[in-house]
Each structure stands twice: as C-alpha cells, then as structure tokens.
C-alpha cells in the first residue's frame, strides 16, 4: 500500500511541540530505507498523536524520554541480553535521551539487527508489553509512573502453571496486512514482534520448550506478547493508560477469545490469585522506587498499612514533592496487590487534589483518568466533585468544544443538581459569553477546589474584561470598581487593610498590562478608557521556566516544609 500522497497535517512540524517533533524524527529516522515501514510508522505515529491529543497529554508528555516502538518485521530479532540472565537495568531517574543502551524493555531498532539463530533468546515477552507505555518503564516521566505496574501480572510464574503448547503464530508481513499462517511455531516464535500486544492484557505465553526452560531458570516475569491480528494493528485500545492493567485483565479472558484459540488456554490457566503479591511491609513512610523486577513482598505494604500511610500524607506538613513521592509509592503498592476499592479511590482523589492545588496538571490528569475508570466500576467516591473538576478542565484548559459537548450531554440529572457541578456549568456559561462579572462572583463562591481550576483562566478573563471595558466605557472607570468586579478584593466585606491590598493588586495588574491610568479631581484613581483601548496588552509570562514549574528547585528538598 502506498502511503497517502498528501503530507499528513497531523505530522506537520508546526503543530507539534518541539520534543514531539524530535521523537517523530527519531521514529522515522530508523526506517530511512524502508518505505513500507515508514508508512506503518506514519500510521502508528498518527495514532499516538491522536491519542495524546485526546487525553490531553500531547504537550505534557515527555517525548524526549518516550521510547520508540518497533514496526514488526519478519527479520528483526529481539535484541536482548541474550543468554545471560542479567538483571534489568537500573531505572533511570534522569530524563535520559532515548538511546539507552541495554534496556531490555526497549526494542533497540537503532542498532544493527543481529542475525541470531532461531533458538536464541525468545524475548517474546519483552515486546509483549501490551501497552505502548510499557516501553517507557524507565523514563522518569510522571505520565508513566504506573507503567511499571503492569509487570505485576504474571509474576511468580510457577512452571506448572504455564501453558505448554506451541502456539500457532501468524507472521505479520511487511505492512501490507497480508499474513501467512505459518504452522511452524518454533521458527516463528523469535520472529514474532507483537506491536499488537496492546490487546495482550491476556497473556499469551511463548511456548517452545527452550524458552520455557530459560524462563524457569530466570524466574523473571515478563509480559508475554500475545496477539497476532491478521492485519497490522497499531490501534490503541481505548484506555491505554498506564495502569489499565486491571480493566483489561478483568475482560482479558473474554478478549482473548477473539484471538487464536491456542492462545486462550494459556490465559485461562493462569491462577491470578497465586500471582498477586501480598505485602507484608509495615512501614508507613516509604519513598517511591519504581519496580524493576517482581516485588519482594516484604517491601510491599498491605492494605491496612497503606490506609495509615495515606492518613500520614494527608496530615503531613511537608511539601508537594514529598507527598507526591509518598503517594506514588502508595499507588504502586496498591496496584501491585490489585487492590481496587475505596482506598484506591481515596488515594487517587487525594493525589488529584494535591496536584491541582500546586498546578501539577499532568499528575492531576493521570489521577483523574484512573478515577473515571474506578468510578465506572461502581466504587464509591466523590464523583460529583470530580465531575465538576472534569468539566472545568475541559472548559478552561483544553477548550475542546467536542469534548465539552460530550461531557455536558453525559451528565446525569442527579449530577446536574449537585452544587459543584452546577457551579462548573455556570462557570462554563460565563466563560463562553465573556461575562466577567459572573465569572468572578463564581470565583469567590467556588466550592471544593474549583478555584484552583478557575485560576487557570483568571488572567485571561481579566484581560478580556479590561479590553471590553476600555472600549465600552467613557470617559473613565474607577479602579475601585474594577478591583471589586474582577475579583481583586480579598474577603468581600472587610474594610481597611484588606480592601486596600486588593486595590493595590488591581493597580499593579493594570499597570503590568499597559492600562492608562489617571487621577480625578477627588483623588480617586481611574482607568482612562479611551487611552487604554490602544495601550492594553498581554505581557509575556515572566516566570516561565524550562521545566515548567518555577517553584521546583534543583536541590533535594523532599523533606523541606514550605
């Protein structure tokens, strides 16, 4: 198939963040000479980008560390530490460039293909990560903080449990979507590249006897690649979030039925309960260490300890980085033990709220998506509160009309009666119509953490209001009035000091935005509307920092209280 002639607008350089452009270049760079692969690569990139757009991480994901995927190729061999059962490489906490050496989780397509003999390590499982984000297991990006958790599936693999039959594999042939059913399992097994492992929430197992032996001796658990769709399948499943392990695990048995029958038996034979870690650690405080191998139960905290840990974090006076770290550790322990109940919800809700308070939108979004899944499974939690946050995020942050309409149309009648949701909807209406008076009134009366999200829009709204007033009012507007309606006054009715500081703040703001001010004959400060209409401007954000958060200093300050 020839790729579409017209340049794909989604991949147009101007539309993508810089780091993503780098990622795209690296991805394509590997297939300079292979047209079919480039076409497949393009299709896959489109999917990634669409997905990232859809879940809002397009600009927040760390593309520099995002590992590259492989286009399946009948020739490419799993590049792994072949015979020696080496330990998995130590996780990189630094944001290292993509070309990591020896990461066994990454298909190193950049290096030369080694023509290893057929019986060579069948690291089928290596690519069997069903989740593209698997590959980023070693990047320190927050987005993928849970990506290591999916290893928790088939952990302590006991020999008796693994399925023993050679699987009928289908080879995926150079991008045309045509396949040859090849009954020779052994020669296929090493050629199997399961990009299509997205659906391998059901683990299919690699089955030739040599591999089994190696597996046993290594006693490592890898995700097994399953899946061999007849066509090239670069599609991401709907919720390809990092920890979608469980939603898919639950339906994995059913999903697997849509694949080759020979694969099914393997999945159904796995004794899930025997594989779940049951933690014994009693430490309430525990730093986050990304899992690199099967977790040792003595390092995993059981549910009751985690409850205490959560309480500790909630009451702690330490700063966000500390709490975030602790919470990630709690989340990891929860995931590894497949705990999925109100505790899980509470943990995510706590983390989401904290993240929102400090403006860590990436972490907030992660938690929010997890919460949506948990809520949809019927687990109790603060649904309304987070429904309101969801709405506000769509309106104020992404401004995607289609998403907004979908969110609004999905609100249940009960939701629409909830105060937080009503507030969010009112904010939406105010933003849409540009009604600044209503907006700032709502800002003052915001429930829960709606103010935090509204904060994202305050600057914009104030500027719009100033521009509007400059055009419509003549000759002047008292600054005191502006301060009052644009939410500059602190705590409504207090006189004296509080009001003055609100006024000052307003003056500062107006000056910073180029407003023309005059003093009238009674000494009151006024906005000169006509003059301002040509002098107002939106200044560049001064405190923009490379890594996005100017409050994060480089030194270790996890224990510092701020």
């Amino acid at each position: 198939m020839s790729p579409n002639n017209a340049a794909d607008p989604m991949l147009k350089p101007t539309m993508l963040p810089k780091s993503l452009r780098g990622y795209v270049e690296r991805a394509f760079g590997r297939y300079k000479d292979d047209d079919a692969k480039r076409a497949a690569c393009e299709a896959y990139m489109k999917d990634i980008i669409t997905e990232a757009r859809a879940d809002g991480t397009l600009y927040t994901r760390d593309w520099d560390s995002e590992p590259l995927f492989t286009v399946p190729d009948s020739l490419s061999i799993s590049k792994a530490n072949i015979q020696t059962p080496t330990h998995a490489s130590i996780p990189n906490y630094n944001k290292s460039p993509v070309r990591r050496s020896k990461s066994r989780w990454e298909p190193l397509a950049e290096e030369k293909m080694l023509e290893k003999p057929v019986s060579a390590s069948n690291e089928i499982g290596k690519y069997g990560s069903w989740d593209r984000k698997t590959f980023s297991g070693y990047s320190a990006t927050k987005d993928n903080s849970l990506s290591s958790f999916r290893f928790s599936g088939p952990q302590q693999r006991t020999p008796s449990k693994s399925a023993q039959r050679p699987m009928k594999r289908q080879r995926i042939v150079n991008g045309t979507g045509l396949t040859n059913n090849d009954d020779d399992a052994s020669s296929d097994s090493d050629k199997e590249q399961s990009l299509t492992a997205y659906y391998s929430g059901a683990m299919a197992l690699a089955n030739n006897p040599e591999e089994k032996k190696r597996r046993e001796s290594r006693s490592k658990r890898f995700d097994r690649g399953q899946g061999h769709r007849p066509d090239i399948n670069y599609f991401k499943p709907k919720n390809a979030g990092p920890a979608n392990l469980y939603t898919r695990r639950a339906s994995a048995l059913m999903l697997s039925k849509s694949f080759d029958d020979s694969a099914n038996q393997a999945v159904e034979d796995i004794d899930w309960d025997a594989l779940t870690v049951k933690g014994t650690c009693q430490e309430i405080e525990k730093r986050f260490l990304r899992l690199t191998s099967a977790p040792d139960p003595s390092t995993v905290r059981p549910e009751d300890v985690l409850e205490k840990a959560l309480l500790m974090v909630q009451n702690s006076q330490k700063n966000y980085l500390y709490k975030c770290d602790q919470l990630k550790s709690i989340r990891q322990d929860i995931t590894v033990q497949r705990i999925r109940n109100q505790l899980t919800v509470k943990v995510y809700e706590t983390h989401a709220r904290l993240a929102m308070e400090v403006g860590d939108l990436a972490e907030y979004n992660q938690c929010q998506s997890q919460l949506q899944i948990l809520y949809s499974e019927g687990i109790e939690g603060c649904l309304m509160e987070f429904a309101a946050y969801n709405l506000l995020c769509v309106i104020l942050h992404s401004n995607n009309k289609k998403d907004l309409l979908t969110s609004m149309s999905r609100l249940t009648p009960e939701a629409k009666e909830d105060d937080a949701v009503k507030h969010a909807l009112a904010v939406r209406a105010a933003v849409t119509s540009g009604n600044y008076v209503t907006f700032f009134r709502l800002y003052k009366s915001a429930p829960n953490l709606n103010t935090c999200l509204m904060d994202l829009y305050v600057e914009k709204m104030r500027y719009k209001a100033a521009v509007c007033m400059s055009k419509s009012y003549r000759p002047t507007v008292p600054i005191s009035y502006i301060a009052q309606i644009l939410g500059f006054s602190n705590a409504a009715d207090e006189n004296g000091e509080t009001e003055l500081s609100g006024l000052d703040e307003c003056l500062e703001w107006l000056k910073a935005h180029g407003a023309s001010l005059i003093t009238d004959n009674t000494g009151e400060m006024q906005l000169d509307a006509k003059a301002s209409s040509s002098t107002l401007y939106m200044p560049e954000p001064e405190d923009a920092v490379a890594h996005g958060d100017s409050s994060l200093a480089v030194n270790d300050f996890l224990a510092r209280t701020t």
Binding site: N4, S433, K471
Partner: protein, 418 residues
C-alpha cells in the same frame, strides 16, 4: 425454513461464483456491486448464506475451477463473512469481510478503468456498517468496541488507492464521506482534517468532477465541522451549497442539512419562516426564533434548559448546535434593549438615546429575570464591545449613551464578533 438440500446448496453457491466471475470478466460493475451488499439482507444473498451454512465446504468448490479459484482470496473470506452474518455473529462477519475487502482492493488496483467503482462503494459502505454492528455486539458483551476504528483505518487505505491520477479518483469523495460518518460516530472529528486536506489541496482532485451526491454529503459534513468550530460564514456557505444541490425529494436529507443551517443563519441574523420549520419538522427551533424576534430572554433560556424538553436539549448538545444557540443570547439582549429604546423614543424623542441601567433591570424583572446592576452593566459593556450597540456607557451616571445614528446595527450576514 424449508429444508435445503446439499444439491440445492451446491447449485446456489456455484451460481454465485459464476455471477461473480462473469461480473469481473465482463467488467460489469453494477452486478459485481450487488454481490457484495451483505447488510442489505437481499433474498439472494441470504439464500446464499443459508446454502453456505448447509454445504460447509465452499472452499472446495472455489478451488475446483480455475474460473473461480483466481478470485479465491476474495470470495473465500466473503463467504465466511456471509455465513457469520447469517448466524448473527457480527464480529466475525466484520473480520472476514475486511479480509475479503483487502483482497478485493489488491485486485482492484490492477484493473485499469473505474468500472468497478460501484462495487468499491458497496464495499466501503459495508465495511462501515458491519463495523458499527460488530462494535455494538462487542459493547453488549462488555468488550471494547474497536472495529469501527479499524474500519476507519482500512478506508484510509482505500482512499490512498484511489488518490491517483487515473479515472478511479472520482471515487475518493465517496470514501471520504464514509470516513466522515465513521469519525463523527466515533467522536474523533479531528481526524477529518487530514482527509479534507487531501481532497481540497491535492492537485489530482477536481472537486467539480465528483458525483453530485457525494459533493452534497461532503459539504454537509464539512459544514458541520465549521459549525463545531464556530466559523459561521464558512458553515453558511457549505451547508447552503448542500441544501441547494440536494435533490428536493430527499426530504430526510434536507431536514438534516437544515438542522445545522438554521442555527447558523440565526447567528448571522437571518430568521427562518415558521412554515419552513413546520414543513421539515424542526419545531424545536420555534421558541428560539420567537425569543429572537421579541427579545425575550426568558424564552430563550427556557428553550435551552432541560426542564422544557430534555430530549431536545440533549440533541442540541450532541449535535454541537447547543453552543451556537447559546450564543444567540446576546442578540436577544440587543433586541430587548432596542425595544426599550423604541418605547423611549415614542415617549420623548430628545432623551431616547440615553437608557438608564435601572430601566433595563426593570425590564428584565418583568421577564422574571433577576439581574443586579453590575451584571447588567457587564452585559451592556459586552454588547457595545461586540458592536451590537453603538455608543458608550457612563459608569458614574449608570447610563447607556447610544449613538444618534443606527444605535443597533444589524448583523447583515456577519456573525457577532467573538
């Protein structure tokens, strides 16, 4: 169902195979097209399906003769698809159909002229429809519905095949429209962009060459996209094109176009006649039109709120029209203020151009809308800012001072400034 003998089954299958081979050999596009329309539930295909399920070894028949076996790659999976379809197994039916379609495309590429385009259209249509039904089956079994997305990718491939210099390129618009339908159904309308760009900027395509039916559908969907993006002049142009070129007898289609065109027209100040709304059963717009005419804010708000008619509002939301209608609020305010102005003018022409804020507040109170001075002041400021009123607001005296000339400019086909 009457008993179906092996002999009869054999006959039906062979009969189909003959028709298939003949259609291709004689380049009979229409006949070939009919042979693929699984979802049409045509008696001939259904009876073929029954025959296949009885006979069970159609592959042998295909291989028996060179005349049939050369198309084996297409026909064998197609038979499987038909069998699955007949048995109600939509997921497998889709999978097999996609395989057959794939093989068909490979053949199609080698054929010179566009004789088989009709068949290709049927295949494109079936791919979408079968995928939709497969997804429904998946969803009802608690699985993740991904077939429609796959159909989208497949059709993009087909598009690629058609995007060449030859006579087949006139088929590209039909495939495009199928893609639109898929993307709209999936909610991934942003994916439309790439295929739109291909159609509109690639030099091989001349829009006028495409069949009129496809052009209308294309303009309808691109018009809807413009509505979503609130580009009202563009939306007006495209939807109007669709309307004028749509065959008058296709009333359902006209209704669909009007559903989106009316809000667009309202946004640029053009109101539809009541008769039109009644003719095409679009009476949900009645209240909104009335509200605009009268400056009745209360009526507009209630029309957009669910206590009036839940179902309608949800439809507004899902179709994306809700936001457009909401924006009409400013025009309603404008109308209200104009009425106040007119009344004042009748009472005292010399002072009419000055409207006190408190008068507006009172007028709103009559409409059972409680708004305080600050809120009304804000609305007034916005109206002036967006050129719906000419004049200025004097804060100290709380008076709107209107321009003596044309204080309430008409929209004149232009939407309200953003």
């Amino acid at each position: 169902m009457a008993y179906l003998s092996m002999g009869e089954s054999h006959r039906r299958i062979t009969d189909y195979l003959n028709r298939f081979a003949d259609a291709i050999n004689y380049q009979d596009g229409d006949s070939l097209a009919r042979l693929f329309s699984v979802s049409s539930d045509s008696p001939s295909l259904l009876s073929l399906a029954d025959a296949l399920n009885v006979f069970q070894d159609a592959n042998r028949l295909i291989k028996q003769s060179e005349k049939f076996s050369q198309f084996g790659e297409v026909v064998a999976p197609f038979f499987r698809s038909l069998q699955c379809y007949r048995l109600g197994n939509l997921v497998d039916a889709y999978g097999a159909f996609e395989k057959a379609s794939n093989a068909f495309i490979q053949e199609f590429r080698n054929w010179e002229s566009g004789w088989a385009l009709e068949a290709l259209y049927v295949i494109a249509y079936e791919i979408r429809v079968l995928a939709e039904r497969a997804d429904r089956e998946l969803a009802s079994n608690g699985k993740s519905p991904e077939k429609l997305k796959g159909a989208g990718s497949f059709l993009m491939k087909v598009f690629g095949v058609l995007a060449g210099k030859g006579p087949k390129r006139v088929g590209a618009l039909y495939v495009t429209c199928q893609l639109f339908k898929i993307y709209f159904k999936l909610g991934t309308v942003n994916l439309c962009r790439s295929v739109i760009r291909s159609i509109e900027t690639a030099r091989i395509f001349d829009f006028e060459e495409f069949p009129i039916r496809d052009k209308v559908t294309y303009m309808y969907y691109t018009g809807r996209l413009e509505v979503l993006n609130e580009n009202f002049p563009a939306a007006d142009q495209k939807l109007s094109y669709a309307l004028t070129h749509c065959c008058l007898s296709k009333e359902a289609n006209i209704r669909m176009i009007l559903k989106y065109l009316i809000p667009v027209k309202l946004s640029i100040g053009i109101l539809p006649k009541k008769q039109l709304l009644e003719n095409y059963d679009l009476v949900e717009y009645n209240n909104i039109v009335e509200a605009l005419k009268r400056g009745d804010l209360r009526l507009l708000r209630s029309a957009l709120q669910e206590n009036e008619d839940q179902y309608v509002v949800i439809l507004f939301l899902r179709s994306g029209v809700y936001l457009v209608l909401e924006k009409l609020e400013l025009q309603v305010y404008q109308r209200l203020l104009k009425k106040i102005y007119i009344i004042q003018k009748q009472k005292d022409p010399s002072k009419a151009h000055q409207v006190k804020l408190e008068v507006i507040v009172k007028a709103l109170k009559w409409l059972e809308i409680e708004m305080d001075l600050d809120e009304v002041e804000c609305i007034v400021a916005i109206l002036i800012y967006k050129n719906l009123m000419k004049g200025y607001f004097a804060h100290k005296s709380k008076v709107v001072v209107l321009s003596k000339q044309d204080p309430f400019p008409k929209l004149n086909g232009k939407p309200v400034a953003s």
